[in-house]
């Protein structure tokens, strides 16, 4: 919660929480893990930029970047990055039916349909990238 919103609760009683409260329950830990996927999203954006620079600098620079990608610790890091990105995608798509309420006439489109629509969009986006990069 934004701390500035608390200004008008001068006598709000709050029990003190330990800093690592989110280690106490699996659900709390999952929540923090979900929020921390944003770190991997930022890492991916920066790595994408580094790769774009290498592409712009020419085939030799891209080959050097690719050689770095093959180092064992780097491969391990990127497997973790990919798993975190997948966790972000799945949790994000599952939030969609709660955030988006679509009505057709007087009926609400069921959550399952909204969720399937989002999975369809994910599939289409992935297919588009694979097709554009001619893999």
């Amino acid at each position: 919660m934004n701390p500035a919103y608390r200004r008008h609760h001068p006598k709000w009683y709050r029990a003190r929480m330990p800093i690592f409260w989110w280690f106490r329950k699996a659900a709390y830990f999952r929540f923090i893990a979900r929020e921390l996927t944003s770190v991997f999203v930022a890492y991916s954006s920066v790595l994408l930029l580094v790769q774009l620079r290498a592409v712009a600098a020419g085939p030799e620079a891209l080959a050097r970047f690719t050689a770095w990608l093959h180092l064992r610790p780097v491969v391990a890091l990127h497997v973790v990055v990919l798993l975190a990105l997948l966790f972000h995608t799945v949790t994000w798509l599952h939030l969609a039916p709660r955030a988006i309420v679509i009505r057709l006439g007087r009926r609400r489109v069921p959550d399952v349909a909204v969720l399937l629509g989002h999975y369809g969009a994910w599939l289409a986006a992935s297919g588009l990238v694979v097709w554009l990069l001619r893999l």
Partner: protein, 116 residues
């Protein structure tokens, strides 16, 4: 308070737009650009294919949007994770300046790299 009321919805909008683009596009990009070639599952995309995609106008617009929005997604989410996870409420201003500041600087760098 007026400034905050104007700013907050915009920041939430950047957060959710960035979250959606990241959810749709980052896993496949990470898989085909970084993980699959390194594990030998797939040949790495050729240089001329990548260069053509990165130089086209549509490619440049897409990459700018993806990278900038994903960075602001991180800034917003990480800011609130620091508040809730580590209870750093007293550092509100400092954390906001640092997270959105880093996202802004990297966005400018992205603009330079993508549009040069």
């Amino acid at each position: 308070m007026t400034g905050r009321r104007l700013r907050e919805p915009g920041l939430w909008l950047l957060f959710s737009a960035g979250g959606t683009l990241a959810a749709l596009f980052l896993p496949v990009l990470a898989a085909v650009l970084w993980v699959a070639p390194a594990l030998g599952w797939l040949a790495a995309p050729a240089h001329d294919v990548l260069a053509a995609a990165a130089r086209s106008v549509a490619g440049r617009l897409f990459l700018t949007g993806l990278i900038v929005l994903a960075l602001f997604h991180w800034a917003h989410r990480f800011r609130y994770t620091l508040y809730d996870g580590l209870q750093l409420y007293h550092l509100n201003q400092l954390i906001a300046v640092l997270t959105y500041g880093v996202a802004t600087v990297l966005s400018v760098a992205a603009g330079v790299v993508v549009w040069r």
